[in-house]
């Protein structure tokens, strides 16, 4: 199982803070993004930062970081931060 997490404005547009997806060998975070972006295009228009298992992987549009996900991976799709 892969868990996709959302916060702030992205969560509001998705209408949920978490979506679970089935794991399959070779799955990359980009595949998860593409699947979820097709379902929630307005939310993913905001996404500019991605983290896998707590580590920022790359700019959300970058394709270079194509490491396959482990089962039980957690992916966070985030908009630009605005704390402080």
């Amino acid at each position: 199982m892969i868990r996709a997490l959302f916060f702030g404005p992205v969560a509001e547009r998705v209408g949920a803070r978490q979506i679970a997806l089935d794991f399959r060998p070779g799955l990359r975070w980009q595949d998860v993004r593409d699947e979820l972006r097709a379902r929630h295009p307005e939310a993913f228009a905001l996404v500019s930062i991605v983290a896998v298992d707590g580590r920022r992987v790359a700019d959300a549009e970058a394709e270079a970081d194509a490491v396959p996900l482990a089962d039980d991976a957690e992916i966070v799709f985030m908009s630009a931060f605005s704390g402080g």
Binding site: G8, M78, F81, G83
Partner: protein, 141 residues
């Protein structure tokens, strides 16, 4: 003693945070602080509250990293970062950064660096709550 880096829903005491800094060392010669507060007006609209959301695990880790980096970069004796989450009303505290050093210059420079880096690196988002509706805030440089 509270942890030097915290995310919390309740307000914090500036006096308590300063006292915690001072307790670390008698070599401290200067403490600089930045206190972020909720303005009651933004871009032509009345603001009653700001709501803060965060990836708490990642945000806390990032703030702890920031503190460690600031201590090394500016040769600080100690630093503390406290950021609130949830709904914060106009006039209330949002974030406190306090940096202690032997001299004023590194304390002041570290304080500025820490709040700028926090805004850029900590996964925290804020929404302005107004009588006319709510709106997520775009990042400010």
């Amino acid at each position: 003693m509270n942890e030097p880096v915290r995310l919390q829903f309740d307000d914090f005491s500036i006096d308590d945070e300063i006292a915690a800094l001072r307790a670390v060392s008698r070599r401290i010669g200067g403490i600089a602080t930045f206190l972020g507060c909720v303005r009651d007006f933004s871009e032509g609209r009345e603001v009653t509250q700001i709501g803060f959301d965060a990836h708490e695990v990642m945000a806390l880790c990032e703030l702890q990293t920031l503190r460690a980096q600031a201590i090394e970069r500016f040769a600080l004796i100690e630093a503390r970062i406290v950021h609130r989450l949830g709904a914060v009303s106009a006039g209330e505290n949002i974030v406190l950064i306090a940096a202690a050093a032997e001299h004023r210059a590194p304390a002041l420079e570290a304080c500025r660096w820490l709040i700028d880096e926090l805004k850029a690196r900590a996964p925290i988002w804020k929404k302005e709550i107004t009588p006319d509706g709510d709106a997520w805030v775009a990042p400010h440089p």
